[in-house]
């Protein structure tokens, strides 16, 4: 747990680190996407403006696709480009390129498309309330026991809603494609999380036209948070088609407004909970969850978001009888995709609010209620996976203790009686399974390549990308710390699919947990096998053996098995645990919630680099704060989204105090960290507002408008 400094911090600060838009190739031209502004319809006519030389432009449509018009991963149901019909706002119709950006922009602005409009589902409510819109596979987790309902059990029924959330990575999406007819290779420079997804997509759209696509990431990837998991597949496909047709390198950088309008977002959810609680024991006896996600127009990776969501839907509670039903709903908005948390922030938005709801019905403190119902060693998840450690409860106890929760609760109660403004404090807790769900890691079968040079320099080849989370610093650190090798002799190489094996996508809080652990184990293994105490000395005295290349493969744990059909078994080998307390100040005159402080206690196992780990928690907390308080997408009118003017993410003046403590840091395992700090804070903020003002709101964000509406018409939960 040493604070190694990040190797890329200084060049990022002085501007010398290259992000995608900082790269130019000789003869490069610029591309843009023409996308549908109609939510659902048939394309009748595309009319180009007259005062341009059409032959100066390279234009591609679905008709130019040599291979298949289908993005192959994750779920192969989304076309790269619309053919005759558009299924959502933002669906790409044409890719257009020209040497001058300015000419390109004015040309595209003047293109007119006539549609025959068809009925469209654009409102989250309309999408999620109508069961006719279900598509894809339904998931059931059936953990029902034959328990008879007692008439005095308290029935709590609520429906919770969460909205779209935009990733708002500061670097918009972009791709550069270069076609080389000599070796029939398409070279793609990408700001992305999953180079191999991009490779498969480009090879799918180009078909027989190319022999191979080679994907290399830019040095800098300006934030991703899940947003650069699947959209780059589409963008790289179309950019490559333009490069192929024009014979020139093509760069497409989305501008902020287009990035907001057409790329993926967090899935809106509607989660309906029924619980029955025994008033004598204060224990929840029965839980029924109806978990619905708005997938957008295509499934893409929604099925896996759904599976993670339902597996986290019952929270940290030991409930004897649980039935969870998960479904995807279709709408005519852009496909929703991966976003840090991946279905868990929605799950916790419901169950953690619901815990406070039941506690208030029982007239019980939310902490005491959680203590009564939290799962213990020997209990099981609804998937029947056994609980093997009580670290969640330790996190909860510790965060309550260090935030002075009980004392503050009392103080605020007294303060609130005498003041119109209110103070409040709220709790939440949660967990996040590390790595792919179920058998996912087994199927992924990640590979790593290592080269040890003659000068004992270790080169690590992984397809995991560093998008700011510090993966390449931390991965190298796990290797060189394991065998006490000098830091300057151990480097992760820039991901390039012609040199780096497929170590899987950079998602699912799996990079340190899966790939890092593989590196660490490998370092110890060669130390043992070669019998050295100092790798430099060993290489110096065995020069003829070097340079030497090693291939490492993921070894699945044979005790881990999961039944994908019935959702039973070990869904995740290791869970990270966390609990949170948040303190707010409610300005009654302006209906504004001011977040004062967040306390986090987490068990992520061994934090490899403490400051990098803290940075993940701080960043996740603040994204969750935006989710809870300000971030809001126009439901019916995506076309209105322009950027940060109308989508409000937290700014420096909004930032609360953040307190972080990691427990069980002496563990051998470095567990998943990236997502969990986004999962749990939003419900703690909502619960703190409930504590302050006594107002129960079922939907994020808790904007002044929503609070005002709730106060003026208590029955109408929705805006």
């Amino acid at each position: 747990m040493r604070d190694i400094r990040k190797f890329d911090a200084r060049p990022k600060l002085d501007g010398s680190w290259k992000f995608l838009d900082d790269i130019t190739y000789e003869g490069m031209i610029y591309g843009q996407l023409l996308y549908s502004t109609c939510h659902h319809g048939i394309i009748k006519k595309i009319q180009f403006p007259k005062d341009f030389e059409l032959n100066e432009f390279t234009i591609v449509s679905a008709k130019d696709i040599v291979g298949k018009n289908l993005v192959p991963e994750p779920e192969p149901d989304q076309p790269f480009m619309a053919e005759d019909k558009v299924s959502h706002f933002g669906q790409i119709i044409l890719g257009i390129a020209h040497p001058s950006k300015r000419t390109l922009i004015s040309f595209i602005k003047q293109i007119q498309i006539d549609y025959q409009e068809l009925p469209a589902i654009t409102d989250i409510e309309e999408c999620l309330e109508n069961e006719d819109n279900v598509f894809g596979r339904e998931i059931i987790i059936d953990h029902r026991r034959e328990i008879e309902l007692e008439s005095n059990w308290i029935h709590s029924h609520e429906i919770y809603y969460t909205p779209h959330q935009e990733h708002a990575y500061m670097e918009p999406q972009g791709i550069i494609s270069i076609w080389n007819p000599a070796d029939r290779k398409m070279f793609v420079k990408a700001t992305c999380q999953c180079p191999y997804f991009v490779k498969h997509a480009v090879e799918a759209i180009m078909g027989k036209a190319i022999n191979e696509a080679v994907i290399e990431t830019s040095e800098g990837i300006g934030g991703a948070f899940g947003g650069k998991e699947d959209f780059p597949n589409v963008l790289a496909g179309i950019t490559s088609l333009l490069a192929y047709k024009s014979g020139k390198p093509v760069k497409i950088m989305l501008d902020r407004a287009d990035d907001f309008k057409i790329t993926t977002n967090r899935h809106p959810s509607r989660i309906e909970l029924h619980t029955y609680t025994d008033p004598a024991t204060k224990k929840i006896m029965k839980l029924n969850v109806d978990y619905r996600l708005d997938a957008g127009a295509y499934q893409t990776l929604s099925p896996v978001v759904l599976s993670r969501g339902v597996l986290h839907a019952s929270g940290g509670y030991n409930i004897p009888d649980v039935y969870i039903r998960g479904r995807l709903f279709r709408s005519n908005t852009p496909s929703n995709g991966a976003f840090r948390g991946f279905g868990v922030p929605q799950a916790l938005a419901a169950i953690e609010a619901h815990a406070d709801k039941i506690a208030s019905q029982l007239n019980m403190d939310p902490y005491d209620f959680r203590k009564t119902n939290i799962f213990k060693v020997g209990n099981e998840f609804p998937s029947t996976q056994k609980i093997t450690e009580n670290h969640l409860e330790e996190c909860l106890d510790r965060v309550v203790q260090k935030s002075d929760y009980r004392k503050k609760l009392q103080e605020f109660k007294e303060w609130n009686v005498a003041h119109k403004d209110k103070k409040g404090i709220g709790i939440s807790m949660g967990y996040h399974g590390g790595g792919y769900t179920g058998n996912g890691e087994k199927i992924l079968n990640s590979k790593i390549k290592i080269i040890i040079e003659k000068d004992a320099k270790v080169k690590i080849f992984v397809s995991s990308t560093d998008m700011g989370q510090g993966a390449h610093t931390t991965l190298a650190q796990m290797f060189f710390e394991a065998i006490k090798h000098p830091r300057e002799k151990c480097w992760v190489q820039l991901p390039n699919t012609s040199k780096t094996p497929d170590s899987g996508p950079t998602v699912a809080s799996r990079t340190i947990y899966i790939i890092g652990t593989m590196l660490q184990k490998f370092a110890l293994k060669i130390k043992d096998e070669m019998g050295f105490t100092n790798l430099e000395e060993y290489v110096a005295s065995h020069q003829s053996d070097f340079p030497r290349e090693f291939q490492i493969k993921f070894t699945p744990d044979p005790t881990v098995s999961f039944d994908d059909n019935n959702f039973r078994g070990t869904a995740y080998k290791d869970y990270s645990w966390a609990a949170c307390v948040s303190e707010i100040y409610y300005h009654a005159d302006t209906y504004q919630i001011e977040l004062k402080k967040i306390w986090n206690v987490l068990d992520i196992g061994h934090p490899v680099n403490l400051k990098i780990a803290e940075g993940q928690v701080e960043g996740g907390n603040i994204q969750a704060m935006g989710y809870a308080l300000t971030e809001f997408f126009y439901k019916k009118d995506f076309g209105r989204m322009q950027g940060f003017t109308d989508y409000s993410i937290p700014l420096s003046l909004d930032i609360p105090e953040i307190d972080i403590e990691f427990i069980h840091t002496d563990s051998d395992v470095a567990k998943g960290l990236g997502e969990i700090p986004m999962d749990y804070p939003a419900p703690a903020i909502r619960n703190a507002f409930h504590n302050a003002a006594g107002i129960f709101i079922n939907e994020y964000p808790l904007t002044p408008e929503r609070i005002f509406k709730q106060i003026s018409s208590p029955k109408n939960h929705r805006i």
């Binding site: 400094r5 911090a9 600060l13 501007g15 998008m467 700011g468 420096s652």
Partner: protein
């Protein structure tokens, strides 16, 4: 149109469309890639430069606004003693994540250090309120600038 200005302490002259965005002039005509485009509407602060002694987003200025003015970009700030101090503090705290917003933060914090520099959190927050960061939650950015202010004050730098 010919435009003359001082760029990173050097007198420069360029023949350019006066309506071209200053950001594009810096990136395309001078190859200064430290100023990034995050929104193109003056909201995000990725393209912040010191213009006429104030931190300004260069995406909402045109080339003509630069005429006879003095401009310092992140590259220029990085060469200044206070810029170097800030870079050391950002590096030491592991504050940088994706880093695309950091040249802009460097420029805004440099301006604060130069014009005020009191190690007071609330003042630092205000000085950085024109810069958006989505990765870090800002906490380590505040810590870094606070540290730089303290070091400047105690004469360590």
């Amino acid at each position: 149109m010919k435009i003359n200005f001082i760029l990173n302490k050097e007198a420069v002259s360029i023949d350019v469309d006066p309506m071209k965005r200053l950001l594009d002039v810096l990136r395309e005509d001078f190859g200064l890639m430290g100023s990034k485009e995050g929104c193109g509407e003056g909201e995000c602060g990725l393209c912040t430069v010191i213009y006429d002694n104030k931190p300004v987003t260069s995406c909402i200025l045109n080339a003509i606004h630069a005429d006879n003015k003095e401009i310092l970009t992140a590259e220029g700030v990085a060469e200044e003693p206070l810029g170097k101090l800030l870079i050391e503090c950002f590096d030491e705290t592991n504050a940088v994540q994706c880093g695309i917003c950091f040249p802009g933060f460097l420029v805004s914090s440099y301006h604060y250090l130069l014009t005020d520099g009191e190690p007071v959190l609330e003042k630092i927050k205000t000085a950085l309120s024109g810069n958006i960061c989505r990765c870090t939650g800002y906490k380590k950015i505040f810590e870094s600038v606070l540290l730089a202010c303290q070091r400047k004050k105690s004469g360590e730098a």
